[in-house]
Symmetry: C2
Subunit: 185 residues, 2 copies
């Protein structure tokens, strides 16, 4: 593709993305679209589970008039890479020194345990917003940390020492599949 000004535009775009402060969810949706369109992997974010209490019909559509959010019983993302099942949860924190474990529900931890038991690839992606750093951490390490600690949060250093820093790029923005490939294939 030819952009007026060539690579400069791409650089500008890169800078823009960085400055705009896109959410982790936006970055991951963008990356998943990239993986999908380039036949690298198929990963989708699951829709938010809701409990519908009232619907009505207008001329064109069925409309939801009353509904509540439900607690998700699984993680937000799953899909396939090279035939294998992959599954992860993604969270942002404004905290500068640690990741509060209250961000991940107990049933999500249990779900990740199940995925590991069945031979799947399970992990979490955590972004420290104020530090502008995003990490990949294996679900096995998350589970071990929870089992061996009474702490209600995982220190930043734990991510730095045991996780993998995900650098922000242009496309895909967050190349977590690169880490999965390195670790499992």
């Amino acid at each position: 593709m030819h952009y007026p000004g060539g690579a400069k535009t791409i650089n500008n775009k890169y800078i823009t993305y960085g400055n705009r402060g896109m959410s982790l969810e936006d970055d991951l949706n963008h990356s998943n679209n990239y993986y999908l369109n380039h036949d690298i992997a198929v990963v989708h974010k699951k829709p938010t589970p809701i409990c519908i209490r009232k619907v009505s019909y207008n001329e064109k559509n069925k409309v939801i008039n009353d509904a509540l959010f439900k607690n998700p019983s699984t993680t937000d993302y799953n899909g396939i890479y090279k035939g294998k099942y992959i599954d992860f949860e993604a969270k942002e924190t404004k905290n500068k020194t640690c990741f509060p474990l209250s961000n991940i529900h107990e049933h999500q931890i249990n779900h990740l345990k199940k995925i590991l038991y069945h031979g799947g690839i399970a992990f979490i992606i955590v972004r420290f917003i104020s530090l502008n750093k995003t990490y990949y951490l294996g679900a096995d390490l998350l589970i071990k940390f929870k089992e061996n600690n009474n702490r209600k949060s995982i220190p930043f250093d734990f991510f730095h020492e045991n996780g993998y820093l995900l650098l922000e790029g242009y496309s895909p923005r967050i190349d977590y599949i690169k880490i999965v490939d390195k670790l499992f294939f």
Copy 2:
């Protein structure tokens, strides 16, 4: 667990389930719970995707006051069995002689194609309600049928000849993993 009357109650329950005409979705949720609790597989139905237009807050909860249903871009079910990614769509039809292809969106077909490309296990489960018969059909056969035919429906006989009949049982109600195991492991 002790039921008053012992096994009889279970038999009664079995008969009751059969007579009650549970929906395919109920049967599959029940089967997936069975697989989950017995550490056989982890398969979940994805929540229905919606587009939220208005929310409000009452004392306890965030409430959705206005939302629309969106067309799903993937199938309804996915998960893991023996490390492999599995993915399927489940549909019921009242039609006695064929399964109308309008039941499965074009982007769902494309999704199934992608899953096959990436080495996943992809299929559809179709229940002919009036015939009380439920079939497993490989996504490859569904795709081939669509490519080689101008027909807008798949004849019942095609399922009978190319699919696998899923007998209804007590627990799991629809043992589709048995077919997956036979075909892929």
